[in-house]
Subunit: 271 residues, 4 copies
């Protein structure tokens, strides 16, 4: 009988993990405000001018937020039907990461800046606004990206091979004088150039280097078409299959073509 | 009876709000020229070399344009069938914003630069050239963008989470020495890098920072595929819906060319 | 009778304007080599180190090329069936522009650099390699771009409105201290940023300026999806219509759908 | 009989060229580790701080790797059924290029940096992980890119004509003062700008130069749509062809889902 959650734990669960009740909704909105406030405080603390004047205030606020979030974390563990499952879930880990940096900052100065990982907690907050529509759109996107993982891996592998080779060639051509001080630095330059970011902290100075760099730029400008094409095609396929939301009455298959009259899996008539 | 607009107000309305009559067309073209001239004057006034020599001329011209546009604004209010509706419409607000900076510049030096918002008035001028075709194209575009709002919001939310986390990590890794003076500045750097803008005013200098930056760049280079895919798929759907939706009366085929008079499948006459 | 071209003029025409005969082909290949050589010479002349040592050589070569191209231009006028039509055609104007800078350089030093416009003459040379396949591909591309002109104009108009407004706001926010010396300069910065070029010669330094700049960058990163979507959709439509190369036997219409059995224009049976 | 490979050569071939047997798999994984290690060593050797302290270690390791790869190369020649075919195959040449730089470095200091071309050997290693799925995806990508070669050549030709003309115009407008020291340098700037890389090592300073640069940037921002459109359309066609090409035996419908067992239109069994 002790394994059966008490009424109190059940009620806590409704407030802390759900947002259908007024209590749950109030809890979630309070949490949203606290997360945004705490991330803002951490960011502002890092600004030298502000830290000089307001450091004690910032530190007190940080400890306040951390204690609140620690209490919340303990309540979540207590009220979860299976505490271990929660602790090792994505959100359980995020919740833990959101509090430990403050405790670590006692020993290591600077650890508190990792508190910005708290923004990840906002992912859960999507629920408050009943953002189911957004969640569906997110699914279309992540399905399309998942479906193109293999193609994108092939593309990324090619890009990495390219930047290693181009970087090494530029190191030999340009040398340390124009900033290409080593092969790793030159590979960094190749990434900066091929992705069309182009900081300009390292730039070729010799004619041969500029000719090779021009080829790299034109290549980078052109091959961006490849991931774009991949995602567009996948998104278009995913979209098509998610428009027909009908489920086969016989075999319960989803993902029929928009014009389908029969189930592609068992041949039963669809409505 | 007083609510019935007088013949004079009606005539004014035709000239000021429409462009079918010669008078209306002349009014609109004059307005187009005045707007472009006034925005050019405001821009030139901001150039130090020109301001030193021609400030009195610029100021006189600005007041001249503002008085003209104020008169026009009052005429619009007078001749609109429902003045309040006009005042609070998009174009009513733009028209007001186009004149107040000059009056504000008496009290606040620099306010006159907001006169460049006058360019927004050009949106109305589209009408002059009977740009209905352009307006339709604009509608296709804005429909496609509207339809993808949810997906783009999800994407933008992900990008914002990413830049906050990446910015904070870079602040801890690089520190103030290479320009990462605070978390907000580092987040700004992350935006500059992820969007492939790459000013180079802040650039990583440590090996670890350059490795993380390389990942950010490749990520930014790759994920641009996502909004592109979203808009392309939506645009393709919107286009399809806005082309020929006719069904052949004989064989029930769809997907005819926009200019088709006969069914491509059975040769029957389309309506 | 004098309007009938002489046999000699006809033969010249075959050599100079066509490339089917061995003579015509030889002429075209010689021309290709001469154009590339002359553009290379003009480019090298602009390099200070080379100009100091080889200026007389460069000038002699330039005059040599110009005299050859002048003779060729006169032969083209002489052998063209309708000389005036040739003179005012696209290639006629390009041919003239390819020779006048050298003559102008007697009066204006530097005019000779416009000789690089000679590269435009290469467009004609496409013919040598019987690049009809390339020309068809070029047509698919230019048709798709033509078909999307209206949409791209709407998009470009929006971009121009945006950069004017953003530029002016940044001028007021940042001011001359961080390089935003005037509204035109700030508009230039807005173009550099929105298009994700990001030179870094002008970069925001104030927190408010960096926040606005971040929005501009994310906007620029996102809206590149719009022209990409437009061109992709048009290209896909153009491709589809250019695969079926059949011409209606009755009304001579082209551009049928790949699956068409009947002409969309007159309803006749296609083969 | 002597042309028949001996049992020993056959066994060697299975180990060195295949990865189905445990021996072959072990060989391939060892090779993968050695290649990554050797490329890392070459990269680290180029870092000044590390070279100063560890040069003898790096050189010994490099010679060690090179001797191992030389032995492997000789074994491959010996065990290949047709040695000459292997030597002149893509991988044969890559294998040779992976060892000669070390020998060359005896005569030319710096030649050893070309050892990074060893990363190309990783292309062969794809086989280890039975990455047939990846290889198929790679084929879809390379087919799509091959099919769009003509269109991309036309596009690249246009881009090259553009940068030559724009570069020359900027040279005349800006001159050496703002970094446009010669036509080739200005063409390099045009590539940097048109591809939206934007280093900022050379940037226009005159109003006219900035206006022209703004046009170039907007053009570069817009025309990236063209290769993207080309690849997307081709990829979409290639994908379609490589999915389910089956036709329903009953109603002759095409376009079934890849996993379909029944026709979506009439419910008949597909083969």
């Amino acid at each position: 009988m002790s394994s059966e959650p008490s009424a109190f734990r059940k009620k806590l669960h409704t407030i802390v993990f759900e947002s259908e009740t007024p209590g749950g909704k109030f809890f979630d909105i309070t949490l949203l405000v606290l997360i945004l406030a705490s991330v803002t405080i951490v960011s502002l603390e890092s600004v030298v001018g502000l830290r000089r004047h307001f450091l004690p205030v910032f530190q007190k606020l940080e400890w306040g937020f951390t204690i609140l979030f620690t209490v919340e974390y303990l309540i979540r563990i207590y009220s979860a039907p299976r505490p271990l499952k929660y602790i090792f879930s994505f959100f359980g880990i995020v919740d833990l990461i959101s509090i430990i940096p403050t405790y670590l900052s006692i020993f290591y100065v600077g650890a508190q800046y990792f508190l910005v990982f708290r923004v990840l907690r906002l992912l859960r907050i999507a629920r408050i606004f009943k953002l189911t529509h957004f969640i569906n759109e997110g699914k279309v996107l992540s399905n399309a990206i998942k479906a193109s993982t293999h193609k994108i891996t092939v593309f990324m592998g090619t890009v990495i091979l390219l930047v290693v080779i181009i970087g090494s060639m530029m190191y030999v051509i340009e040398g340390a004088a124009s900033g290409f001080t080593s092969i790793p630095t030159s590979i960094y330059w190749a990434v900066v150039t091929l992705t069309t970011v182009g900081y300009g902290d390292i730039a070729p100075a010799t004619p041969l280097g500029q000719i090779l760099a021009s080829f790299v730029m034109i290549m980078g400008y052109g091959i961006i078409a490849v991931p774009t094409g991949i995602v567009t095609v996948e998104l278009s396929k995913t979209e098509k299959r998610m428009t027909n939301t009908e489920v086969c009455p016989n075999c319960h298959m989803e993902g029929h073509l928009p014009e389908a009259s029969f189930c592609y899996n068992c041949g039963s008539k669809l409505n």
